[in-house]
């Protein structure tokens, strides 16, 4: 294994992120080829976490752009602080300044509200730009991002062109509620994060819930592994595992039993039908099948 990849892996571990070779390799290549990294996977497998850890690892800023339906492409770049502009005009009313001087003043950087994309290209040091849940945004937004990513410069008509001296490291995440365009996919490195394996999940639990009983951690991981195989409307992710493990640790539990699972089920299952289905399963054969090594 390449020394850098091993280093990234240990740096990520040091930043409290349990990682594996595919994640480390992708991060390493994204950094060295200077390409955006597109991460897909089920909800709650730690996609966003990769960007956060990257920022911590590189000791740089994390700039986050949360996408949502109807997010206007231009609003991701900059907006003018119109309240401030209005006030400025009002205050200067007596002075009878020439119009073009006034315009020059209120369309200067002091009145500019930098939105994430502009922030990301005006940093002293390459930040990590996290474009979260890009699938929730529109296709136009996607096209706009591609344009920005291609040359890292932005033109503001009133000010001029701003070019990034330190282009950001980009991480995009998607939950696949919408298929992303091929153009975007082809320009990014791609990483699919699956639910963690049993071993990895134990490691995550032990890392994130310090002091948890070893037997409990292993049972929790085993239980989650089995539970994800049941047909559920809302399959629990790692976030749910951690909430649950934290709750169990707080209750000073050292192993799982039926009563304890029922009491804390709300941490794991968040759909009434799922809870009903789970109870039916447990009613049939008890908790044991969930704690066995599944074939």
């Amino acid at each position: 294994m390449r020394e850098e990849i091993r280093k990234i892996q240990s740096l990520m571990e040091a930043a409290e992120y349990v990682t594996d070779a595919p994640v480390a390799t992708s991060v390493h290549l994204a950094l060295s080829l200077k390409k955006p990294l597109l991460i897909e996977g089920h909800a709650g497998v730690g996609k966003t976490e990769v960007a956060k850890v990257m920022a911590r690892m590189l000791e740089t800023n994390l700039i986050r752009l949360q996408c949502y339906e109807g997010l206007d492409a231009s609003a991701t770049l900059y907006e003018w602080n119109y309240q401030k502009q209005l006030l400025h005009i009002k205050l200067g009313e007596g002075a009878h300044k020439p119009v073009d001087q006034e315009e020059h003043e209120i369309f200067s950087e002091a009145f500019l509200l930098k939105r994430p994309l502009l922030q990301a290209i005006t940093q002293e040091e390459s930040p990590v730009l996290l474009v979260d849940e890009i699938d929730r945004g529109d296709e136009e937004l996607e096209a706009f991002m591609l344009e920005v990513f291609s040359d890292w410069q932005v033109t503001i008509p009133e000010i001029g062109t701003i070019k990034a001296t330190h282009p950001p490291h980009v991480v995009l995440t998607s939950n696949r509620t919408r298929e992303l365009s091929d153009a975007l996919r082809r320009r990014c490195l791609y990483l699919w994060i699956d639910y963690p394996t049993y071993e990895k999940e134990i490691a995550i639990v032990e890392r994130k819930v310090p002091g948890i009983d070893a037997r409990l951690a292993s049972e929790v991981a085993r239980f989650m592994e089995s539970l994800r195989k049941v047909r559920l409307a809302k399959v629990p992710g790692v976030a749910e595992t951690l909430d649950w493990a934290q709750a169990l640790a707080t209750l000073h539990a050292d192993h799982l039993d039926e009563a304890l699972v029922y009491e804390t089920l709300g941490c794991v299952l968040k759909d009434a039908d799922d809870i009903k289905r789970f109870r039916a399963e447990v009613g049939k054969a008890g908790l044991a099948p969930f704690l066995q090594v599944s074939g």
């Binding site: 390449r2 390799t25 290549l29 003018w80 529109d138």
Partner: protein
């Protein structure tokens, strides 16, 4: 710089992936070569992970990549062996001979012709051979199943024509705005800059997003004919929608969206035949369950889900109800089309239908052209 031979091998590997329908760009191939510089070339797994990160763009492509990688880097010199090892996902190159083409297949081919084109060739008046108005009216209200095999081609053409005309109308339609929307301060300020006072107000409104469609078509037995018309109709309408996803089901569920997107109808025909499963019996509940398991991410509030089926379910009606409810919770609207509804004496008494009915927003027939036209009016949110 990576060794020349290795760079060249990566380029050849890229070409192989392309042949197996991974849409690689040349930038990606360049990146793959560049990536070699940053990988431990003695570590096969690392090279594999690195190249995969660069060359794979979506999860469905990963198995193809894996197979190609295995085959290519195992025995690169034996080109024939590679081809053999990869025969799995490959499509037969030759079109099926005339002997293979049944009557049904021929009809289907015609039905699929011109789907993805969305062109406007019907702009300049009706093409020849279209029935006169009164005859046309009669045709639009007759149940599809009452037409003879020889009339179906013509009927399919007519279906497409009507759909295209509708598409033009739907995409042109503007609605009067009830409220004026939010004040757009940025534009307002801009517009009034030289006045010193705010006189003229500017507004903005949220962009109206197009609706997505998810079609689940029963292709068992008698439903097949109706499914075909519905598909033909909706695909001619598809540019009105943000996206159309299509699945067929009888015993199991098959996603045919990509198949329907194929350029040439010959290809479409070939692929559709591959996915067809003609075995009797319908398990609607199970099929919907499968849809929910793997494809529920396609459904959101801006999605209309259309199920076309007569509701003859050999499975458990409770499963059907549970799964349909799950779809209904996510979707903007659920429409159930049952061609039997066109028959005045029909009552939805099958167990499946009875379970489904309380959960659907709209229940309609889709048994003739007039019914399809009515359906078009329901396809907005």
């Amino acid at each position: 710089m990576p060794p020349r031979a290795l760079s060249r091998a990566v380029v050849a590997f890229g070409a192989l992936l392309r042949r197996h329908s991974l849409p690689l760009t040349s930038l990606q191939i360049t990146d793959a070569v560049r990536a070699l510089d940053h990988l431990d070339l003695g570590d096969r797994d690392e090279v594999y992970r690195g190249l995969r990160a660069v060359m794979v763009g979506r999860p469905e492509e990963a198995p193809i990549f894996d197979r190609c990688f295995e085959a290519f880097w195992r025995a690169r010199s034996e080109a024939d062996a590679v081809a053999e090892a990869l025969a799995g996902p490959a499509m037969p190159e030759e079109a099926p001979g005339p002997a293979l083409e049944s009557e049904g297949a021929r009809r289907e081919r015609l039905a699929l012709e011109g789907w993805s084109e969305g062109g406007d060739e019907d702009e300049g008046g009706e093409p020849l051979g279209v029935p006169a108005a009164s005859e046309l009216e009669a045709m639009t209200t007759r149940d599809f199943s009452t037409f003879g095999a020889d009339q179906l081609d013509e009927l399919l053409r007519l279906t497409e024509q009507i759909a295209r005309r509708l598409a033009r109308r739907l995409s042109r339609r503007r609605r009067p705005v009830r409220r004026r929307g939010r004040l757009d301060l940025r534009r307002t300020l801009r517009a009034n800059l030289t006045r010193g006072e705010i006189i003229e107000l500017r507004y903005r409104q949220r962009k109206r997003r197009k609706v997505r469609l998810v079609l689940l078509c029963d292709v068992s037995g008698s439903m097949d004919l109706y499914s075909r018309f519905l598909l033909q109709f909706l695909f001619a309408l598809q540019r009105v929608f943000a996206r159309v996803e299509t699945f067929t089901f009888s015993v199991r569920l098959t996603r045919v969206t990509d198949v329907l997107r194929a350029r040439s109808y010959r290809q479409v025909l070939r692929r559709l035949q591959e996915v067809r499963d003609w075995s009797g019996g319908t398990r609607i509940g199970e099929s919907l369950a499968e849809f929910n398991r793997h494809w529920s991410h396609l459904v959101d509030r801006r999605t209309i889900v259309i199920v076309l089926s007569d509701g003859w379910d050999t499975g458990d009606p409770d499963v059907l109800a549970t799964e349909l409810l799950r779809i209904k919770r996510r979707a903007g609207r659920v429409i159930w089309l049952n061609p039997l509804l066109g028959n005045p004496s029909y009552e939805p008494l099958t167990r499946g239908m009875a379970a489904a009915l309380p959960l659907v927003d709209h229940f309609a027939a889709a048994h003739n052209l007039a019914a399809l036209r009515d359906l078009a009016g329901r396809l907005s949110l």
